[in-house]
């Protein structure tokens, strides 16, 4: 079984556009949207949800004011500045509480409750391209890395059950907790890079992250013609670091038009879709890490 994760470092470079095309082209696969924070793949794949499961992760502190004797121990102990004293005594700012439970365990009056947090929902859905595992973290919630890990476990379980050999994942921007979780156990990362100073800078960071976790990296340069010199510099960088360059995509209004049609670029005739088909074939020859 091979796991392919589409990443970018910088947001908005075209991860989901590429993921949707590959989801269309791949056979025997499970599709996974690991951008649980701002997922977009469902917009193109119009999933019909088969199963919804609440994502319960961690807990948050709530002070029972009737039991509180205003000793202030919780506020002194909280490393996150989440406890403050207001008009009605001590209370916890839910947006700052990290759920460490230190105040809960050390309150001399046992006046701090610790209810579980319902951070979002995750889904198993049918799409015209096959099964999709995806999620939506509730706005402002945390533990996205944990949710990413959960989605991957589910996708693997299903792939094994159905004897499917590919897990295709749309990743999230950045290099932090959800991206690290996305790369864990992945056989190949596909980096979608745009030839801009930001695109190259953030790509270099995510490439370093792939090296750190020993995940091979293949690269697609998107909107390559908006800065040809920068695109060449990225191509040179790939050659230097042993990343396979899968190819270049042009800056084209057809990308937004595909989005408006709620289709993958490979589903209707257009030159960008043709290039994506070539890239998918080229990708078959890359040896995956695991």
């Amino acid at each position: 079984m091979r796991e392919i994760v589409v990443i970018s470092g910088k947001g908005g470079t075209g991860k989901t556009t590429v993921s949707a095309a590959f989801a269309h082209l791949a056979e025997n696969k499970v599709i996974c949207d690991l951008d649980v924070d701002a997922p977009d793949l469902h917009i193109l794949l119009s999933p019909s949800v088969r199963q919804t499961t609440p994502f319960i992760s961690g807990s948050h502190a709530v002070i029972r004011s009737e039991a509180c004797v205003q000793c202030g121990t919780c506020a002194k102990l909280c490393a996150f500045g989440a406890v403050s004293r207001g008009e009605n005594g001590y209370c916890v700012d839910d947006l700052r509480c990290e759920g460490c439970g230190v105040c809960v365990k050390l309150c001399p009056q046992k006046a701090v409750d610790f209810p579980e947090r319902h951070c979002g929902d995750w889904y198993v859905s049918d799409t015209r391209f096959g099964l999709m595992v995806h999620a939506q973290l509730f706005p402002g919630q945390e533990n996205s890395g944990k949710l990413v890990g959960l989605l991957k476990t589910e996708a693997r379980r299903y792939a094994k059950e159905q004897k499917l050999d590919t897990i295709l994942c749309d990743g999230s921007p950045g290099v932090g907790c959800p991206v690290i979780a996305s790369l864990s156990g992945a056989g190949l990362a596909v980096g979608v890079v745009e030839p801009t100073p930001s695109g190259r800078h953030d790509f270099a960071r995510v490439a370093e992250l792939c090296r750190h976790f020993r995940v091979p990296l293949a690269v697609i340069i998107n909107k390559a013609d908006i800065n040809a010199a920068e695109a060449d510099a990225i191509a040179a960088l790939c050659a230097e670091n042993g990343h396979t360059l899968l190819g270049r995509l042009p800056f084209s209004p057809v990308v937004t038009q595909a989005m408006v049609r709620r289709q993958a670029l490979t589903e209707f005739p257009n030159p960008v879709g043709d290039r994506l088909k070539d890239m998918w074939s080229a990708l078959q020859n890359i040896k995956t890490g695991r």
Partner: protein
């Protein structure tokens, strides 16, 4: 006034808008890059860095001689950073969130305050010294971004105390912990809406995520009028009307703008018309902010 520029979706134009607003700002300003996982503002403002400091998270270190094997530290740790194998305590500092619970419960002084590098904070000046600059950058392999952002914010507070100024904060994408860490400590949020189907969806997520913060929110559409996406522009406008969100400007979709950005140049420097757009956005932002503040005070009276 301290304004976060956020979007939900990555690549909507947060950095472009922040950099060009900084260019036309006509009052003392600190430009802050809070997208510490993928910081880009410096690539457009080209600051001269004057100070750099490493940001650390306090994590436990063990003095085995003093450990009495009570396992209290393991019991209080929510993050599985402390384990006990065959009566020996093992520490996994990479898992630590820095809550400090283990230090509070250790009865024998066996835990020392060690540290893990989160990343760096850099300070300097940009745009011919007119704008003070601050950025955070996470260490590659570090999974926790919020503690670095909290330190960055404390540093910003000190900078604003030394010399009062406005602050524009280029926020991280998404709507989870790093973004909320940034937006909860500002006076208002400017949402950059990309009117594509992806952009619109993520824009509504961002609006919903920031509503509970109780901060005024304003909107600027980026890449308006793209061919074949007329419905997308209207969807953002309709959403703003429906939710009472002041729409301050719509920046047009132009290939030249994409090329300007790709060349590392500011949109405000592309042409007099583009400069004028950001001057108008700056003024509209100020006016909308004052009005929101008046309404707030009016509401209290």
């Amino acid at each position: 006034m301290k304004i976060a520029i956020a979007s939900g979706k990555g690549g909507a134009g947060k950095t472009s808008v922040t950099a060009s607003l900084a260019r036309v700002w006509d009052a003392p300003l600190v430009a802050v890059d809070t997208d510490a996982e993928a910081p880009n503002l410096h690539l457009f403002l080209h600051p001269t860095m004057e100070q750099s400091r490493t940001s650390w998270l306090t994590v436990p270190e063990m003095d085995p001689e003093k450990c009495v094997h009570c396992e209290k530290c393991r019991d209080i740790c929510t993050y599985k950073a402390i384990a006990s194998f065959a009566g020996r305590i093992s520490l996994f500092p990479d898992m630590c969130h820095g809550c400090g619970g283990c230090f509070a419960v250790c009865p024998s002084g066996a835990l020392r305050r060690g540290r893990r590098e989160l990343g760096v904070l850099e300070q300097g000046t940009a745009l011919e010294g007119k704008v003070r600059f601050l950025m955070g950058r996470t260490r590659i392999g570090e999974s926790m971004t919020p503690p670095l952002l909290r330190e960055e914010h404390a540093l910003l507070a000190r900078m604003l105390e030394e010399i009062p100024a406005d602050a524009l904060l280029d926020a991280p994408p998404g709507v989870s912990c790093p973004t909320v860490t940034v937006t909860r400590d500002v006076d208002a949020v400017l949402l950059v809406a990309d009117p594509t189907p992806f952009g619109f969806y993520d824009f509504t997520l961002a609006h919903k995520a920031f509503l509970p913060l109780g901060r005024p929110m304003f909107v600027v559409i980026n890449r308006a009028g793209a061919e074949g996406n007329e419905e997308g522009d209207e969807a953002v406008r309709a959403y703003c009307r429906e939710h009472g969100l002041p729409l301050l400007a719509a920046l047009p979709f132009e290939r030249e703008a994409a090329e300007q950005y790709a060349g590392g140049r500011l949109l405000a420097d592309l042409s007099p018309a583009w400069r004028e757009r950001f001057v108008a956005l700056r003024d509209a932002l100020r006016e909308a902010f004052s009005r929101a503040m008046e309404e707030k005070e009016g509401g209290h009276a």
